[in-house]
């Protein structure tokens, strides 16, 4: 069974997913960041594949991507770094990025490599639903991979149903219309949107992302979904901490440890 499905079967609430950019702050931090996140209780990890033109990302992830590329990160190297990851890490791992690097790598080769390493899914915001369905889904299915799709406050009910139908792992609920790390407070987000989605009784679990940065915003998001995703705030934390291990521990504890 895909690890994402296993996770949502055993844990229904307060799921914490963390995004980081591979190759940032240093080229070879990838494996250590993953191991430390798991050790400190993170449920799911999104490994960012840096791209030169991240149009759905705000300044923090733009900057981490730029640094990662300067450091020499690329998809081949990332796969090389991850080749033994399943010897030490059990939680689900997702690759997140933009379609062009994946397209150049070759979608069939990419999916096979993900399966070989033990990657459980992808989030590729600029791979739209219809392109995924008609040209990509078969490769995903063959390799037991999930492609996680996004919904926003503007997504129509009919389209949400369509996305729910084709989704396998979970649905990524973008908290408000924004790029990542846009800094709008999650309390201010459309309560009615969260409730509307909650009442739709979708078959897939949901995680809320964009604008989740601390214990309060995480806690609030968890009231309306199975959990939430933190990206920019974590990238900021690792970029400013001198010791990676301590930095990660403190960051995650601040989100999930009981008071």
């Amino acid at each position: 069974m895909n690890r994402i499905n296993k996770l949502f079967e055993t844990k229904k609430q307060n799921i914490l997913s963390v995004y980081f950019t591979a190759g940032f702050p240093n080229l070879n931090d990838t494996v250590e960041i993953i191991q430390e996140l798991e050790k400190n209780g993170v449920d799911l990890i999104e490994i960012g594949i840096p791209f030169s033109d991240p149009t759905a990302d705000g300044p923090t992830i733009q900057k981490s991507s730029e640094t990662a590329l300067k450091n020499g990160m690329n998809l081949n190297l990332l796969f090389e770094q991850l080749k033994d990851i399943r010897k030490s890490v059990n939680i689900p791992l997702i690759l997140m990025g933009y379609i062009n690097p994946v397209y150049q790598y070759g979608i069939d080769r990419f999916c096979e490599k993900c399966a070989e390493i033990g990657i459980d899914g992808t989030i590729l915001p600029d791979l739209p639903l219809d392109e995924f369905e008609s040209h990509y889904k078969a490769f995903y299915d063959k390799n037991n991979l999930h492609n996680i799709l996004l919904i926003t406050p503007q997504t129509s009910e009919a389209r949400i149903r369509q996305i729910d139908e084709i989704s396998g792992g979970f649905i990524y609920m973008v908290s408000s219309a924004s790029t990542t790390g846009a800094g709008k407070k999650v309390e201010d987000f459309h309560q009615d949107y969260f409730e509307r989605i909650q009442n739709m009784q979708l078959k897939n679990p949901r995680l809320i992302g964009f604008g989740i940065s601390d214990r309060a915003t995480f806690g609030n998001a968890c009231k309306y979904a199975n959990g939430a995703i933190i990206g920019s705030a974590f990238v900021n934390a690792v970029s400013s901490s001198t010791d990676l291990k301590t930095g990660i521990k403190v960051f995650v504890e601040n989100i999930i440890q009981p008071d």
């Binding site: 791209f51 030169s52 033109d53 991240p54 149009t55 759905a56 990302d57 705000g58 733009q62 730029e66 590329l69 690329n74 998809l75 081949n76 933009y98 379609i99 062009n100 690097p101 994946v102 397209y103 150049q104 790598y105 915001p125 600029d126 791979l127 739209p128 639903l129 219809d130 392109e131 799709l149 996004l150 919904i151 926003t152 503007q154 997504t155 129509s156 389209r159 973008v174 219309a177 924004s178 790029t179 846009a182």
Partner: protein
Amino acid sequence: MKYQVDEKGYYGEFGGAWIPEMMYTNIEELKNRYLEIIGSEEFKSEFDQLLKDYVGRPSPLYFAGRLSEHYGTKIYLKREDLNHTGSHKLNNTIGQILLAEKLGKKRIIAETGAGQHGVATATVCALKGLQCVVYMGALDVSRQAPNVKKMKMLGAEVVPVHSGNKTLKDATNEAMRDWINNPEDTHYIIGSVVGPHPYPDMVARFQSVISKEMKSQLLEQTGSELPTRVLACVGGGSNAAGAFYHFLDDEQVELIGVEAAGKGVDTEETAATLTVGSPGVLHAAKTMLMQNADGQITEPYSISAGLDYPGIGPLHAHLHKTGRAKFLAATDEEVLQSVLLLTQKEGIIPALESAHALAALDKIKMKPDDVNVINLSGSGNKDMETYLNYFGY
């Protein structure tokens, strides 16, 4: 209609709408409504009126006698440089501002490189009293100071973009981010035949007035509406799309697009996407791109800020692939010589971009009776500083 966009937004294998879900509602609304809106009698009459009385259309088709004599053939110039704001860019922004009004949008955003599209957008926003925000790479802001000041005088806010190479590509990224963050009240006026469907088709339709006029002017001046060939410069490709549009199905008309070779297509400093590029996805379209083996977009270079773009409209990628149009590349050096030649043969100072099309005249075989139409897409006013420095006047 074999070179028109299909119902999925593709030209052959190129195009589509590779947008994040956050842009879906806006793009879907545009896709569902643009044809109905721009096809309506009300829109058409308002658009045509503004093109005539405000832009100053039709732009002349001028027989360039001394240039023709120089090359031993017949050369006609389509004078888009004589439009209000000095280039073809206004044709598109007039169309899109009317469309934005019909969609009930209150705020306009745009990207710009040289500042021509930014000025054309700020102009129509002033005309219609709409809020205008123009994203411009920080490097271009300093390179193109007069256009920045013009936009501000027209009431637009100019936002310098500091990411990446601080040029057109980065300005486009930032405009897309703005749209993602403002999905309700904002319309994004893209300046070229790039971006997600329906932009490439919509912008090509607004620019197609160029080739529509060419046909009737050629009929009047030469007795036939079909020339031997049409030449236009290509960055994203909006003026070329407009100049080719009504000739696409007249297969006997040779279509020639000219890209910016920069310092040479065999150097790192080039913007000749079709020569050095490969298929990929950028700015929400599948098209030809300048990129490395890992799919990271590489930085283009051209002396002309308007052609300094690492992609190309999907229509042109398709015309290239099918062979319907031929694409050449001209270096900075060749372009500057063509600027001087036109200036001193005809008393017309062309924009750097447009001079790429002129430079192609040295690269093709022409017969004395051939009718060559060059789309002179913009005026050289904005490039005077470059010219004065280079030629040392």
